[in-house]
Subunit: 460 residues, 2 copies
Amino acid sequence: MAMERLVVIGGDAAGMSAASQARRLKGPDELEIVAFERGHFSSFSACGIPYWVGGDVPERDDLIARTPAEHRERGIALRMRTQVTEIDVAGGRVRSRDLESGAESWTGFDKLVIATGARPVRPPLPGVDAPGVHGVQTLDDGQALLDTLARTNGRRAVVMGAGYIGVEMAEAMLKRGYEVTVLNRGEQPMATLDPDMGRLVHAAMDSMGITTVNGAGVTKILTGGDGRVRAVATENAEYPADVVILGVGVEPETTLARAAGLPLGAYDGLLTDLAMRVRGYENIWAGGDCVEVLDLVSGRERHIALGTHANKHGQIIGTNAGGGYATFPGVVGTAVSKVCDLEIARTGLREKDARAVGLQYVTATIESTSSAGYYPDASRMTVKMLAERRTGRLLGVQIVGREGAAKRVDIAAVALTAGMTVEQMTTLDLGYAPPFSPVWDPVLVAARKATTAVREAGSR
Amino acid sequence: MAMERLVVIGGDAAGMSAASQARRLKGPDELEIVAFERGHFSSFSACGIPYWVGGDVPERDDLIARTPAEHRERGIALRMRTQVTEIDVAGGRVRSRDLESGAESWTGFDKLVIATGARPVRPPLPGVDAPGVHGVQTLDDGQALLDTLARTNGRRAVVMGAGYIGVEMAEAMLKRGYEVTVLNRGEQPMATLDPDMGRLVHAAMDSMGITTVNGAGVTKILTGGDGRVRAVATENAEYPADVVILGVGVEPETTLARAAGLPLGAYDGLLTDLAMRVRGYENIWAGGDCVEVLDLVSGRERHIALGTHANKHGQIIGTNAGGGYATFPGVVGTAVSKVCDLEIARTGLREKDARAVGLQYVTATIESTSSAGYYPDASRMTVKMLAERRTGRLLGVQIVGREGAAKRVDIAAVALTAGMTVEQMTTLDLGYAPPFSPVWDPVLVAARKATTAVREAGSR
């Protein structure tokens, strides 16, 4: 019998986790593993780029979890700078092009993993390709931005977008000494939060010296006589800029999958089953930023590009492709971020998410501290909790605060996964000691208030 | 109809939370509330005393959540320095003595709350009452210790006991410039952890300059010519001491309850039902450090003296006594602490707890970091996880590390409450961003390893 071959498209978190886990379960005498990566790097932390640009992380290579050579030492034939250009599902093969030589070839597969990731949304604006305008998705992007910063000695940075990438890049540019303006199309920064919580982020960014302009629809990027960016224009104003950073989100990179006729969802992400197999296919798996995931709270598919999901997907795919068994039940939508010393966290549904799926809810918002109020440097945080009307089931939590705020969202993430009610949460046995929490943890205080809100909303 | 009277014995966390919550539900025209406290203070944070002694918390009064006057303003007749000396259950009355005047009187009750707390274990050692030997349970204790420190200008402190109070007081005395020796009867400090995790605490304390002597059974406390403490003797050695701190734990203060014939458990704590009523009694509740609580993991009653439980009990008792409805389902045994920058956390069962109740288990211990490995100041932590053999149900987690380690135990506390398996935990959607976590949170890494251990232990 010929040896089986596993082909992996995409050499980053999901793809290489899958390859590595399959290799752990099956040795090179049982399974051949071939992986294709079009870029220059494998297994790097895109989430770390803002901290590299900002100077917290000294070296680009610090962000590389495993080099191509290390993967090859583990028996994975990783072909760098090689782009897969076609998936022939019926023929069980992929076509690839060596981006250095231009040579094309076909590679047959018994099992296929699609981990093509996401691509940054690059708005089709005049000037978006001008020198000085930078995305921050790949290490090459990060290096290009750092090169620009070193070369131009600028003073003013405009960040387009006020989501995670936007606010993290605002921090990075602030740390590099720039005057930072964040242009935000929405009504508040951090649209992944409800507007009332986003306002807290806005106020905190103001106090850090980051200017946030809400309702700012960019119309074009203006260039100077040297062809370089000089300003960003909205309908109402012009914002001078020596450098512009695109932080307007990503979308699934599923061009290949679409051409191959594989099933895509409402966000253009691949649809999979619980074993991360592409729906309807026995021997094709997909994971990471190119798939949609089930939101366990809303019961809907969502697209969430996050390294932590990509790694889990890869682990599960590799287990299954390697002959084991593992499933990915879904997500609850947890995300944490920070801007300087401001911590931001969310899990579950926002108010508008709940409304969109027909859930009625009550909300409770409380202020508390990360440690006992009398403990030195106890820092304030605001916790907002959503609970389903009548049942009291936890629907979501948002937290904005300082040190010790963000990771408290994990309490809610587990409670959401377990389907707890907010009343059940009021008696959770959470860690208490004065340096770590008030005697009622802020999450418990929110749960108590939400419990009261559920009761007051009545049983109609 | 005469107005109902609620009598509360004990003016600290459980008692005054109960009184306050009952008052919220029923006004002074519906319910009379009388509370007795034998000490000088109401509603104070005993857990905060080490931080007051160590200087982190500047003033004694910072530890007082609510003064007697504040309680009285809220319509609670709080009688300070008044000790209840007898509960006449059949007669529905309590006898009390005014500790200032010596006057005794009876007070009738329709509803009774017993919140008599715990008393520090004071070993019956020669010299234990000598000047310079201090407990740290009450604010008076803390003040007496601070007075001693101010007066004696000593250099060497011996702390008896290496549990939470012991290690926190070791930190406090170190901060005050003392040479600190911790005498520990057990084989490792922090007996609430397994010995292998306790060893990590021991090593960290060594590196801070705190000397820990294990297997040190104290035989007597030696005094000098002035009658003051001068050393602590074990069977093997003498440890010079200018001040000695008793940190050897507490036991339920249930002298009154025992005399009244109320049901006590194996640890001499009052036994209650889910509504925190003393078992078998319709109109008597008990909560806080004087009760035993159901451990949801082992199915056994335990005695755990912790302010966070006392506050929850009080809240629940007050709700029920005030005509509402609330229950306390039990605990999972979560506790967090720190010694200087070392964070210590546990929840669920230790190995010996599991064995004691007939549970077979596997363990997994991993090392990871609190933030992405490349993020500046990523601090190491060790996570140990216990899972039931065969079912893979989570049984317990212990964490020893630096900043960001301890409160991660909350993830496990919620998972224990929900009855999750370690395999279910591997896909928990926990907050990830480089400043807050590696792409696999340390708890997930431990869950993965525990899952493998469960699988390898087989299905026999």
